[in-house]
């Protein structure tokens, strides 16, 4: 056996290898195909051998043949065999071949999954490398799903070569398997900071490709990319990053500001043209409003355009055209340069320069530029460039409603001249311009009609070329203009004759039908003129002409032409009959076309309101039963109108009886007869018809053949040049005149010629366009065009934490015990856990830094930066809810040392906000957002539902929580799954709590609350009246506002008022604006750039009978005084009848207690504090509370005034709290015979007295 193999091998040595094949093909130049066919047969033989080396040789040859255009997909299986070889050389041949010919539909690809997996995990990096390279070409959705995990592993390989390739191929994986994007993204992000520049570059590359399609998801990476941009020296990476920024900046204006400096630096410093060019592009795309940078770009571009290197010239012009859109003035300064480029020998450059012309023209130079382009057009080779020139001429002349055309005679002449251009595709464009000008510029009509008449006279020239090009479209316009404005025609009869030439029939149908229609118009004109002048001969002549020539249209193959011609022919016959009787009919014919036609606005049709009760989808009649197919079908597929009516009238009858075969036959006969007699029927037999209409003279019509030496020149055309000359004459005349005048005038003249407006426009362009009543052109109607973009699927939020189910599919053996995959999973999660922990630590550091910085910034400014999509000062309740949720989860997770994605997320958003706003030294990064989690912390500890236990036992609760956590830790060790479940539970619980809190309804039974309560089991389970910290702010018939104050110990200069807006109507309330008159002490934070009078917008609309919560931040100076502020809320009620603007005044009361933060304090600390003498200020008060239950009193004080119970002995208790600025307050409360004694100690006397007042009013007021 082995011997046989060896023998086979030796024989095969004489097989052709690739070089032999190539040589052979070169030696058989005459019969290449035959030779290759022979070779393919040989290859097929070789592929049957068992030896892989031989097979690989065959496959190698096939790959070459594939390049020559031969299909080699039949060898797909053999290719896979070669790929599976253990030898690198052979494997490589297989993968190369596969990458050349495999694709999505190659079904054998599903066999490769395991083989590729093996190669990917090979010890040899080149095995894996070659597999990755191949896979990148033929990856399918299945392969992507099955191999995603393996590729992910390679991304962390120790070899940069493999990491690089793995990172790059991930893009292909994402395209095929979009679900992989989110799980893989963190690792991809890591690679941005890889030590190896190649890997880094690959990661940048992939993210750039991703971000190009869905930029908004990658906005959070901006700081990282910014760092890379300022640190990297690799031009490839820099270019990619800068390109990425040009996609990101339009989404985030602040990013642009941040980029200005580094980009300008790069522009100034770099010697690499490619980098310079990309910088310029990004500046144009990202910061188009920064005039200085744009100026710099234009300068640099000029240098590029002036460069002798054609490539730079090309790119310079390309970028220039982008600037043109935003800064036309800056580009116009370089008009000379751009016009110069029009003469460049390079077509690409000329085309780019043409693009720029659009912005270069003015009233003064339009004629000149067009003249130049016309000359180019004559010289130009290649229809592409000529077409481009033609469309540019029209575009620049017609732009912004013919703004730059001063002389329309000139323009019409240009259009007529353009019709001479051979082989243009833009006939339609010229035609529509002619129509537009003739209709809208009334003054030019006479001239236009004259020109069009000439065109019609010479229509044979244009019609001759109709087969080759679309220039005959011009005749459409010419015919219509001559017909519609026939009163301007000098000799309508000769035009009519021209339109009735038999040659016309070679024109396309739609043009012929316009001809026919306008023939009637002209006919009417001629008849009328003849009647007026009493020229009977002329009348007869015209009638004769019409009845002779019209039949050529009647026999047209085009239905529309035929129908119109028939109709008109009958009309002419009738008219001539009447004329014979001596009746005057000219006026009546003209009436057919009376009335002015105005242009219709492009969107008019869509704006026509659908009449009430019209349902276009409804059947007008009963849908015909299927049996009717049989009847209507058959030879007659154009049924006449009467036939239609018949069928529908029969409808009801047909239901009652089934027609027999004979009856059907009969009907068919009847129909045939009817058809025969119906002139409108298009019959199969044309001979008959022509007989009928007696058009045998057709051939007798004398056709005047014109002898043209220059076939394409339309004689009698006024050359457009004369207008140019005229204009320049006027100009020079003007100049010489002005030159004679004094110096003063000269100076003025200089000014005048600068402004181009003083050039007189000779004709007015009417801008009247027909629109249905009440409709406006400007109405937005961007119908959402849903594009089936494959990148849609990759549009996922990458900042969101991974869900449990989002994992890359890991291969699993089916018949293994359940435990083993679990282990695998565990390993995986553990890894990620570690990673996350690291990340979190980083984040923490950042956060700390941020906070430090914030404090620094704080002093600088108290105003806030309010950006459009940046942090708003108002937080909706919903937003807050998620935040608090996140917060709780964090707490759980912090103790559990597990991943905390939500925090990451909020951090991230904060990070980018911070990073973006960091550049503006005067702004602090959104304190509201920062303080948010903290505020929620407070909310949480101050437990939402009040029971006596809850309020009084907060300290114990804390303790209990610690206890609670211990078993939790143990549990977590058992498995990550459980932990996740718990997390979920916790989340749910929290949601529940939160929900109840919002409602603030009443007490629930303690058992419903957390475990801590049952553990504690204090005897005092007294029912409390319902309590809510929300106080009424203002109320009217439509709106009710309640508010609550929130503070955070971290921010000593801020207080947040959370206002619940409750819509009490059945209408929408919108445009809510909240404003408060600032006091010296307390100021509403309104955002940067807003004065202290501006209102703060509430970022939501109130739906009918709904409520929503908005938060407003106030900066405060001193916390020792209670504050009362006046404010107003303005809003718009949108009801069915319209909307009304209303306002609601309110008084915002901020008592001293609103500055207190519930702070825990141990009883011994409390005692120490009292004894230390740090609290010199004393105060006391005596009052008789309405509610005499001592626990109730305590609960109320704790809840409303933010105190915390330290100790309670019988009917006396000590309470503690701290202000946000750190002033401690201690209270001793005693209940004696229904009256309450309160003694307080604090470091701030005003605060204390304010607080005592608060207590008094709280407890003595009827609730």
């Amino acid at each position: 056996m082995a011997l046989k193999k060896v023998k086979g091998t030796l024989e095969r040595v004489l097989d052709k290898n690739l070089q032999d094949l190539v040589r052979g093909i070169r030696n058989h130049k005459e019969n290449e195909a035959k030779y290759i066919a022979e070779c393919i047969d040989e290859i097929k033989q070789e592929l049957k051998q068992e030896n892989l080396a031989i097979k690989s040789n065959a496959v190698n040859k096939l790959t070459y043949l594939q390049m020559l255009g031969y299909d080699i997909s039949w060898a797909a299986f053999n290719i896979i065999e070669v790929m599976s070889s253990t030898k690198f050389t052979i494997k490589r041949i297989g993968y190369l071949s596969a990458s050349q010919c495999f694709h999505d539909e190659t079904d054998v690809l599903m066999l490769t999954t395991n083989m590729i997996r093996k190669d990917l995990s090979s010890q040899n990096i080149y095995d894996a490398g070659v597999a990755l390279s191949g896979l990148s070409c033929f990856i399918t959705a299945d392969l992507a799903r099955d191999l995603a995990n393996d590729i992910m592993t390679l991304m962390t390989s120790s070899r940069p070569y493999l990491r690089k390739k793995a990172v790059l191929i991930m893009y292909k994986v994402f395209l095929q398997f979009p679900e992989a994007l989110r799980p893989a993204f963190p690792r991809l992000k890591e690679k941005l900071e890889d030590a190896d520049p190649g890997v880094q570059s690959a990661a940048v590359n992939v993210i750039c490709e991703l971000a190009r399609k869905n930029p908004k998801n990658y906005l959070s990476l901006a700081p990282l990319f910014f760092k890379l941009m300022t640190s990297s020296t690799n031009n490839w990476v820099l270019i990619k990053i800068i390109k990425l920024f040009s996609a990101l900046t339009p989404l985030e204006p602040r990013l642009g500001k941040k980029l200005i400096e580094p980009l300008t630096n790069l522009i100034h410093s770099t010697s690499a043209m490619s980098l310079l060019y990309e910088c310029i592009n990004t500046v144009i795309a990202g910061i188009p409003n920064h005039t200085a940078s744009i100026q710099l770009c234009v300068q640099k571009l000029r240098i590029l355009i002036e460069d002798s290197d054609q490539n730079l010239k090309y790119l310079g012009l390309l970028a220039m055209s982008r600037i043109l859109a935003t800064h036309p003035k800056s580009v116009q300064m370089h008009k000379d340069l751009i016009l110069q480029c029009l003469d460049d020998k390079d077509e690409s450059i000329r085309l780019r320069a043409l693009d720029l012309l659009y912005g270069m023209v003015s009233k003064k130079n339009l004629m000149e530029i067009v003249k130049k382009l016309m000359i180019h057009m004559d010289k130009a080779e290649g229809s592409h460039y000529r077409d481009e020139l033609l469309s540019k001429i029209i575009l620049i002349s017609s732009q912004s409603n013919y703004q730059f055309v001063t002389n329309f005679e000139w323009y019409v002449s240009i259009l007529v001249e353009l019709t001479r251009m051979e082989g243009t595709r833009h006939g339609k464009m010229i035609a529509s311009q002619m129509l537009d000008v003739a209709i809208r510029v009334q003054a030019i009509r006479q001239f236009a009609v004259d020109q069009m008449a000439i065109l019609l006279e010479n229509s044979h020239v244009l019609a001759n070329n109709s087969q080759r090009n679309g220039i005959c479209e011009v005749l459409y316009a010419a015919a219509w203009i001559c017909g519609e404005f026939s009163e301007c025609l000098k000799d309508p009869k000769s035009t009519l004759e021209a339109m009735l030439r038999p040659k016309i029939t070679i024109l396309p149908g739609h043009i012929q039908s316009v001809y026919v229609q306008n023939i009637l118009k002209l006919y009417g004109k001629v008849v009328r003129q003849a009647e007026d002048d009493g020229e009977e001969d002329l009348l007869r002549e015209v009638n004769q002409l019409m009845s002779e020539k019209l039949p050529i249209f009647v026999s047209s193959a085009d239905l529309e032409v035929q129908e119109r011609a028939c109709c008109i022919l009958q009309l002419v016959k009738y008219v001539s009959k009447l004329l014979d009787k001596g009746a005057k009919i000219g006026d009546d014919i003209e009436l057919l076309y009376a009335g002015e036609l105005n242009p219709v606005a492009p969107k008019a049709q869509r704006k026509v309101p659908v009449p009430e009760g019209l349902d276009l989808d409804k059947w007008i009649n009963q849908p015909p039963p299927e049996s009717s197919d049989e009847e209507i079908g058959g030879p007659a597929f154009f049924t006449s109108g009467s036939e239609h009516r018949d069928t529908y009238q029969y409808e009801s009858e047909r239901k009652s009886y089934e027609p027999t075969a004979e009856e059907l036959e009969k009907r068919r006969e009847a129909r045939k007869v009817e058809m025969e007699h119906n002139p409108h029927y298009l019959k199969g037999d044309i001979k008959k018809k022509s007989k009928k209409y007696d058009t045998s003279h057709i051939d007798d019509i004398p056709v005047a053949t014109l002898d043209l030496s220059v076939p394409l020149h339309v004689p009698g055309l006024s050359a457009s040049d004369k207008y140019l000359n005229m204009y320049s004459n006027v100009d020079t005349r003007d100049k010489s005149k002005k030159g004679k005048k004094g110096k003063k005038k000269k100076r003025r003249k200089g000014k005048e010629t600068d402004s181009e407006e003083d050039l007189p426009a000779m004709h007015a362009v009417s801008t009247v366009e027909e629109m249905p009543e009440g409709a406006h052109l400007s109405d937005n109607e961007n119908a959402d065009e849903y594009s089936s973009d494959p990148f849609k699927k990759l549009d996922v939020n990458l900042d969101e934490p991974l869900r449990d189910d989002e994992k890359l599919p890991v291969r699993q053996h089916r018949l293994v015990l359940e435990a083993s995959p679990d282990k695998e999973l565990d390993g995986d999660t553990e890894k990620t856990k570690k990673k996350h922990r690291k990340e979190k630590e980083k984040k923490k550091d950042k956060k700390e830094k941020k906070e430090k910085k914030e404090k620094r910034d704080k002093k600088k400014s108290k105003s806030e930066n309010k950006e459009k999509d940046g942090p708003t000062l108002l937080l909706t309740a919903a937003e807050e809810e998620t935040a608090s949720e996140a917060n709780i989860v964090n707490n759980v997770e912090n103790t559990a040392n597990s991943t905390s994605p939500p925090e990451e997320q909020s951090d991230k958003t904060n990070d980018i906000e911070f990073w973006l706003s960091g550049s503006d030294a005067a702004t602090t990064p959104s304190p509201v957002k920062d303080s948010r989690p903290v505020v929620n912390n407070v909310d949480r500890t101050k437990s939402p539902k009040l029971t006596v236990n809850d309020v009084l036992s907060s300290e114990e609760e804390d303790g209990a929580k610690v206890n609670e956590e211990k078993p939790k830790k143990k549990k977590e060790k058992r498995g990550s799954k459980k932990e996740k479940k718990e997390k979920k539970d916790k989340k749910k619980k929290d949601k529940l709590r939160r929900h109840e809190y919002e409602e603030a309804e009443g007490i629930t039974t303690p058992s419903k609350e957390n475990i801590s309560m049952s553990q504690q089991g204090t005897p005092m389970e007294v029912q409390l009246p319902p309590m809510s910290s929300y106080k009424l702010l203002a109320e009217n018939a439509t709106l009710r506002m309640t508010y609550e104050t929130r503070v955070s110990p971290q921010r000593s200069d801020q207080i947040i008022i959370s206002v619940v807006f409750n819509n009490q109507t059945k209408n929408h309330l919108k445009d809510l604006e909240f404003n408060v008159l600032d006091t010296l002490n307390t100021k509403l934070i309104r955002g940067l750039g807003n004065s202290h009078h501006d209102a703060v917008r509430v970022p939501f609309i109130l739906l009918p009978e709904s409520q929503n919560e908005g938060q407003f931040a106030f900066s405060i100076e001193s916390i020792s005084m209670s504050q009362k502020m006046r404010g107003t809320l303005t809003y718009i009620i949108k009801s069915g009848d319209g909307s009304t603007h209303e306002k609601l005044d309110f008084k915002l009361h901020l008592p001293c207690s609103s500055y207190l933060v519930t702070t825990p304090c141990k009883s011994d600390e409390f005692a120490e504090l009292l004894a230390s003498g740090d609290l010199p200020e004393k105060g006391s008060c005596k009052l008789t509370p309405v509610d005499t239950e001592f626990p109730h009193v305590l609960a109320k004080m704790c809840f409303h005034l933010h105190f915390r119970l330290i100790e309670q002995v019988d009917k006396s208790a000590s309470l503690f709290s701290k202000s946000i600025q750190g002033h401690p307050v201690c209270l001793l409360v005693k209940m004696v015979n229904g009256s309450l004694n309160v003694d307080g100690k604090s470091s701030e006397s005003k605060l204390l007295s304010g607080l005592l007042d608060d207590i008094k009013s709280l407890l003595t007021e009827e609730s």
Binding site: L14, L18, F88, T89, W236
Partner: protein, 190 residues
């Protein structure tokens, strides 16, 4: 993204074609032909970019090419690639070929199209630029060549002997179609 890399000679004969998006073989040939027609009628002193291949791409795509003696190197790329960057990449590609084949000429590409593919695979992968550093590329190629030699070893000795004999038959490998002197890397605009 790079959509395709084509190398053909002054007569439009394909010397290497690499499509990063699947096209049927006949369409591939059409694309090559069309590209050749677009490129070949351009003078040498005009810019190296052109738009307007109808078969491949569309408005977002550009053809970026360089012409060396008898060969055109054409890259079809979309707007996410830097035009000048790709021009430099072509230069890197050609210089790498030059190093690997020792004074590369069209014949090298004709007879060793597989090797050209392997070299290209170190520069571009799946339509994305993989590596632009020439020393790195050369190291990788050399290492792979070493592996190839090791594997070939004794097993391929007879084959090599035969091919040596075959080689003797050819009049002589004509290396007259040389590439012009390549500008050194220092002159690159990059």
């Amino acid at each position: 993204m790079i959509k395709a890399i084509l190398v053909f000679n002054n007569h439009g004969k394909p010397r290497m074609s690499r499509f990063y998006q699947h096209y049927a073989e006949d369409i591939q040939q059409q694309i090559i032909r069309e590209t050749f027609h677009l490129v070949s009628k351009r003078d040498d002193n005009v810019c190296n970019f052109l738009e307007g291949g109808t078969l491949i791409g569309g408005s977002d795509y550009k053809l970026i090419y360089r012409h060396y003696a008898t060969l055109y190197f054409v890259f079809c790329v979309d707007s996410s690639e830097s035009e000048l960057g790709i021009l430099d990449l072509i230069q890197v590609f050609v210089e790498t070929l030059d190093k690997c084949f020792e004074n590369v000429c069209e014949l090298d590409l004709i007879f060793h199209v597989d090797k050209v593919h392997y070299i290209l695979a170190e520069l571009v992968m799946g339509g994305m630029v993989l590596e632009t550093n020439m020393t790195e590329i050369l190291t990788r190629i050399e290492e792979q060549n070493k592996m190839e030699k090791q594997e070939a070893g004794i097993a391929a000795a007879p084959a090599r002997a035969v091919s040596a004999v075959k080689d003797m038959n050819i009049p002589q490998k004509i290396k007259d179609i040389k590439l012009p002197d390549l500008p050194s890397i220092g002159n690159l605009k990059f």
